[in-house]
Amino acid sequence: MEKFTRLTTVAAPLPQENIDTDQIIPARFLKTIQRTGLGKHLFADQRYDEQGNEKPDFVLNKPAYRKAGILITLDNLGCGSSREHAPWALQDFGIRCVIAPSIADIFHSNCFKNGLLPIRLPLEICETLMDDARQGENARLTVDLEKQQIVRPDGETIPFDVDPFWRHNLLEGLDNISQTLLREGEIEQFEQRANRAWIPSTQGENS
C-alpha cells in the first residue's frame, strides 16, 4: 500500500449530504475485474450529461479542482454499498484524503485499506475548510498525518483524530495480510477450540 505522510493540495468542496457510493461510482461501472482506471467514472452521474460531456459547473470539472487531492463534503459520506470501487475511483482520480462531519463505516475502512485518509471533523470545521477550498487553486490545504493536523491556507492548524492502528499502517504503508499471517499459530489454535466442533464445512451437503 502507498504510504501517506503529508499531503499539500487543492481541496474540492462538495457541499452535499449522504453522498452514497452509488454516487461516487454508479453500479454500471463495476463490471471491471481490475482496481485501476475508475477515476474517469468518479461521480459519473453528476460529472457528465447524458451525452457523456462534462457538466462545467460540477466541482471536479472546474479548472481549479481538476487536480484536487482532497474532497470535503457534508454528513454521512460514503453510505450505501460496500463497493471498494468507490475509494479506487477517488484514488484513481487523485484524491488521497476525504473530510466530512460523518463518514459511513464500511467506506471509512475501505479508504484506509487503499491508502486514502478519511477524516471526520465537526460540521463547523468542515464548513470552514470548505470555505478555504472555495478560494480555489491558490488555497492549498496541508494534511499532516504524522502530526495529525490540517494546515489552512492562512497557516492556522486544525487537529484531527485518527485511529492509531490505521495511522501507523498508513504512515508505514503496511500490508495487513502479511502482518496477520504472522499470527498463524494463534489462528490455528483458535480453530481447534472444542466449542467450535458443531460448525460444518461448506464443501458438501450434510446428511
Partner: protein, 475 residues
C-alpha cells in the same frame, strides 16, 4: 472490555467468541466462520492472492455464487453484456483454481447470496459471516454477526480467515405490540429508518427485539436485518429462538444429528443478558406503523401511504429545505402532495430484502384475480432458483404471469441496474428493494421503496396506493 461476569448483549457474546487476539490499541483479530463471495467484489481479491502466491486458507468456510450481474431472462442464451460475462467467467475460473464451493448459474440453488446462504443452511446462528456486500447484514436474522466488507477485506479473509476489527457500539431497537393488517416487516423497517435516519446507526450494531420482532417469521426478520445498513449500522441481528431453530433444522448445509443438538445448546445461550448495556435505544409501537414507502432519494425519506410529502417550507434550516427541493425535483413530485394516486411506470418485486417465498406469497395474494395496468412494466425476480421452484409448485408464477407480470430467473436484477433490467429516464418505480438513491435503478430513475404487497397493489392499480384498500376486511 467486558468482564466475563458482567451482563452482555447478543453482539458482545458472538464477538467475544470469535476474538483470536486483541492488539494493543483494542483492534481485534476476529475469526470468520463463513465467507460468501460474488462476482463483483471478488475478482481483485483473487488477483491479489494470485500475485502474492497465497491460497484460500479455508475453502470449507467459503462459498461463492454469482448474483449481481447475472441476466434474469433466459439462462440458456449467452450473456450478451461482454463485461458481465467476463466477471462471471472470472468468478468461475477463480473458484475452480482456489477450490471454493460454488453454485453455477444453471443450478437451481443459484440466487442472491443473502437469500441462498440462509436457505442452504450455509449461514447459521452464532457465526461470524462476511461478504463483499453491504446487505450481508441480512444473515444477522439467524442470530449471527454478519456484515459487509470491501474487496481488500475479502482478500484478507480469503488469505487468513480473519479480519481486523474494532468492537462496535450496541444499539437496541425494540418494537412492541401487534402490527395491523397490510403492515409487514418492510413497513416496520422503513419506520425504524425514518426514525433513526440513515446515519443513526453508524458505528453501531443493531439488535432488533420486542414482541413484534419475535412474531416475525425468518423472512420478515431477514427483511429487518437486511436494511440495517440503510440505518447506517454495519450489522443487525435478532436473537435466535425456536422460530430460528425450526428454520435451520434440516437445511442442506446445516449440522445434523448430534452436531445439531450441540449447536442448538450453544445457540440458546445467544441472547442478551438482563441488564446488558446498550449505547443507544429506540422504541417503536407496532400498532402505530402504517403501510409505508419512501418519497425521496434516501431511505430515511419515509412516509406512510396516507401521508403527504414534505415541503421545503416546513424545513427547520436552509440546508434541509434545499435538500427537500432538490429531492422533489429529482422525484418529479410537488411539495405537500399525496403519494397515493401517483402513477407508476414500473414495479419491481425482488432483491435480497424481499424476494423470499413469503414475500412472493404476500404479493400474489394481492395480484390474484387482478391485472397489471397495461402501461406498467411489472416483474417478479425470485431470490433464488429454489424460491422460484417453490413458487411454481404453489402456482404463484401463474398468478403473476396471468396478471401480466414478467416472471424472472433469480438474481439482483433491477435492484441496482447492473444487468439489463433498468429503469428508463424519469420512470417511476414501486420497488421492494432497499435503496432509492439517485440513479440506483437506472440513470434518472425514481424509486419508491415499499413492501411486496404495496408493490403488487401499485402494479394492479397503476398508481402508488394503500394496499389496505385492496384487502378484504382490512379497513
Amino acid at each position: 472490555m467486558h468482564k466475563p461476569s458482567s451482563p452482555r448483549t447478543l453482539y458482545d457474546k458472538i464477538w467475544d467468541d470469535h476474538v483470536v487476539l486483541t492488539l494493543e490499541d483494542g483492534t481485534c483479530l476476529l475469526y470468520i466462520d463463513r465467507h460468501l463471495l460474488h462476482e463483483v467484489t471478488s475478482p481483485q481479491a483473487f488477483e491479489g492472492l494470485r500475485a502474492a502466491g497465497r491460497p484460500v486458507r479455508r475453502p470449507g468456510a467459503t462459498f461463492a455464487v454469482a448474483d449481481h450481474n447475472v441476466p434474469t431472462s433466459d439462462r440458456s442464451l449467452p450473456i450478451e453484456d461482454q463485461q458481465s460475462r467476463l466477471q462471471i467467467e472470472t468468478l468461475e475460473r477463480n473458484v475452480e483454481e482456489f477450490g471454493v464451493p460454488y453454485f453455477p448459474l444453471l443450478s437451481r440453488k443459484q440466487g442472491i447470496a443473502h437469500v441462498v446462504g440462509p436457505e442452504q443452511g450455509i449461514s447459521l446462528p452464532g457465526m461470524t459471516i462476511v461478504c463483499g456486500d453491504s446487505h450481508t447484514s441480512t444473515h444477522g436474522a439467524l442470530g449471527s454477526l454478519a456484515f459487509g466488507i470491501g474487496t481488500s477485506e475479502v482478500e484478507h479473509v480469503l488469505a487468513t480467515q480473519t479480519l481486523l476489527q474494532k468492537r462496535a457500539k450496541n444499539m437496541l431497537v425494540r418494537v412492541e405490540g401487534q402490527i395491523g393488517p397490510g403492515v409487514t416487516a418492510k413497513d416496520i423497517m422503513l419506520a425504524i429508518i425514518g426514525r433513526t435516519g440513515t446515519a443513526g446507526g453508524t458505528g453501531y450494531v443493531i439488535e432488533y427485539a420486542g414482541s413484534a420482532v419475535r412474531a416475525l417469521d425468518m423472512a420478515g426478520r431477514m427483511t429487518l436485518c437486511n436494511m440495517s445498513i440503510e440505518a447506517g449500522a454495519r450489522a443487525g441481528m435478532v436473537a435466535p429462538d425456536e422460530t430460528t431453530f425450526a428454520y435451520v433444522k434440516g437445511r442442506s448445509y446445516a449440522p445434523k444429528g448430534e452436531a445439531f443438538e450441540q449447536a442448538v445448546a450453544y445457540w440458546q445461550s445467544l441472547r442478551s443478558d438482563d441488564g446488558a448495556h446498550y449505547d443507544k435505544e429506540v422504541f417503536l409501537d407496532a400498532a402505530e406503523i402504517k403501510p409505508s414507502l419512501t418519497w425521496g432519494t434516501s431511505p430515511e425519506d419515509v412516509m406512510s401511504i396516507d401521508g403527504r410529502v414534505p415541503s421545503p417550507d416546513e424545513a427547520t434550516d436552509s440546508a434541509r429545505a434545499e435538500r427537500i427541493r432538490r429531492t422533489l425535483s429529482y422525484m418529479g413530485l410537488e411539495a405537500g402532495q399525496k403519494l397515493a394516486g401517483t402513477p407508476v411506470d414500473a414495479v419491481f418485486i425482488g432483491s435480497c430484502t424481499n424476494s423470499r417465498i413469503e414475500d412472493l406469497r404476500a404479493a400474489a395474494a394481492i395480484v390474484q384475480n387482478r391485472k397489471v395496468v397495461p402501461s406498467v412494466r411489472a416483474m417478479v425476480v425470485p431470490g433464488s432458483g429454489l424460491v422460484r421452484q417453490q413458487a411454481e409448485a404453489e402456482g404463484l408464477d401463474k398468478i403473476f404471469r396471468d396478471a401480466g407480470f414478467e416472471w424472472r430467473e433469480a438474481g439482483c436484477s433491477m435492484c441496482l441496474g447492473m444487468n439489463p433490467d433498468k429503469l428508463e429516464t424519469q420512470q417511476r418505480c414501486a420497488s421492494t428493494s432497499n435503496r432509492n438513491f439517485e440513479g440506483r435503478q437506472g440513470p434518472q430513475g425514481r424509486t419508491h421503496l415499499c413492501s411486496p404487497s404495496m408493490a403488487a397493489a401499485a402494479a394492479v392499480t397503476g398508481t402508488l396506493c394503500d394496499v389496505r384498500e385492496l384487502m378484504e376486511g382490512a379497513r
